[in-house]
Amino acid sequence: MNLLHEWPLVIFTLATQVAVGLVLALLVARIRLPADGAAIPEGGTAMPANGAPAASPWSHWPLLMVGVLTAVGLAGSLLHLGAPLNALRTLSNLGHSWLSREILAGLTFLGLWALTFHFHLRPAAAPPWMRHALALALALAGLLLLWTMARVYMMPARPVWDTWLTPASFLLTALILGAVAVAAYMERHPAPRPESWLPGFDSPSPAPAITASLNPGIDTPLSKPSLPAPANPGYTPSSPPLARPVGLLLALGLAAALAQLAVSSSHPVTEVLRTSGAGGNLANARILLLLAGAFFITAALAKDALVALGTGAPSGGGAGPGSGARPSSGEPSSTFNWSGLWTASALLLLLASETMGRILFYAMGTADPF
């Protein structure tokens, strides 16, 4: 079998699924679980002078990546066409063709992302209810995109694809990579406050100094936050890992990885592949990398839990001076920033595993029909 014959589609499906996964993970990250002793610090209701909430600089990058990945994915699918000039015609058979429906879902997702990102950069331009609705619509559009994408493959002529395992593995790919990517990002770029990429969902800003330096209504530079990271109100040092967004995301990623392990191990074709040549090696490698990624996520969670239980110092799950996070202003960083390396490594392993899994998916489905 030609393992790399469908590489544009491998890129298209992976990129769009990661984009949807990022959206779902960002939505999870904004859910703040109550921690013991959580309190909003005094003076924490400061708002910028003009009364509008500030854009959250740290979440510019994850949200931007959603759009970049979706655009890359759609561009990849264009490359796959034999006659790209007819690309727009592919929306012509919505009545019967799941491919037409998937393309429409992808364009809808991209359009909603553009609106969401626009109002993320200019939060003053839309009322909070609109930004909430837009964010939820984006998440729903993402799920719809995953569903239509899976239905494209579920047809009688390809029995290997025509099972519930196809949509399950697409959703799990999105959840695994999205959750771990956002967790890795959050660990290396701690949020200045319990974070929401929906400005309307924010808790009040903890310190006037931070928000006053961000001017809403004007283009917010897409720079990494260079401000000191105070402890997150609502996340005391002894908060269990799952009470913090990063811990929750890591747990979600781990659960999804284990589910994906079950899905790909139980697929009957995987059994056949494992005993045969290059496909078999790839199938085995895919499982091993998935296990390794799950192990690294577990290590990251365990590290958080041990630090929280032991020293009481804030761990990498949130922000804090003792976590190895960004040093406070004025002090040069003299040590390598180790925070989030377990999670970043897990992300690389899982990305490799999911890529292999997707290559196998196409290889086993596009074999000769007879």
């Binding site: 796959h80 066409l81 034999g82 006659a83 592919t90 393309i103 002529a157 000769d368 029909p369 007879f370």
Partner: protein
């Protein structure tokens, strides 16, 4: 009203000579690697040691037969359903045709067709397939594959007449069951013909059948 056309394949007469394949390639100018009609060889069984003399091998259920298959011009074509541009349409007489001007070359129909009838033309970036020699049909002539077959294994005509004359069987292993797309195909089975989906053999030339 035009009668709905279909194929009759007499699998007991097909000898796998591939004259039909070459005639079709010749007529349509197909390059190496692109086929509208394909011949599948299907066989099975085993050779086992003779119980009386273990140095000898004797056949046990050995069988083989050939099927010549192109587009089945189905009643509910999967390609028409799948095509996102609507480039594939079915004429009133049942012939399924691709409008090259609309085709975007996404190859989704190639996945959707249970019979592997779709062929991608790399030089134009568009899909092509058997068109039942529609130009010749419109002039009252038969397709080249039918005319060229030395054993007269292939026949084209109104499907209701073919079914009346040759029965209702529309699938034989390794072809898929006709439930999904309802091919306008009638097959006279080979004496060792196996039921679709439950064949005891395997394709002995899967690479060559589609290349």
């Amino acid at each position: 009203m035009a009668p709905l056309l279909g194929f009759h394949l007499d699998a007991s007469a097909c000898i796998g000579c591939r004259t039909c394949v070459i005639a079709c390639k010749s007529k349509n100018g197909l390059p190496p690697g692109r086929h509208f009609r394909r011949v599948i060889e299907y066989g099975g069984g085993a050779w086992i040691p003779d119980p009386e003399d273990s140095t000898l091998l004797v056949p046990s259920g050995v069988f083989a037969y050939c099927l010549s298959i192109s587009c089945s011009h189905c009643e509910d074509p999967a390609c028409v359903r799948a095509c996102p541009t609507g480039a594939i349409q079915q004429r009133p007489d049942g012939i399924v045709l691709i409008d090259s001007a609309r085709c975007a070359g996404c190859r989704y129909c190639e996945w959707a067709c249970p019979y592997g009838a779709m062929a991608f033309d790399a030089s134009t970036g568009r899909m092509t397939k058997c068109d039942l020699c529609v130009g010749m049909i419109d002039q009252g002539q038969e397709p080249w594959c039918v005319t060229s077959c030395p054993t007269r294994a292939l026949e084209v005509g109104p499907i209701h007449q073919l079914r009346a004359a040759h029965g209702q069987l529309d699938a034989l292993a390794p072809l898929p069951s006709g439930e999904d797309t309802r091919p306008r195909l009638v097959i006279t089975p080979h004496p060792h013909g196996q039921p679709a989906g439950r064949g005891a053999g395997r394709s002995s030339n899967p690479e060559r059948a589609l290349r």
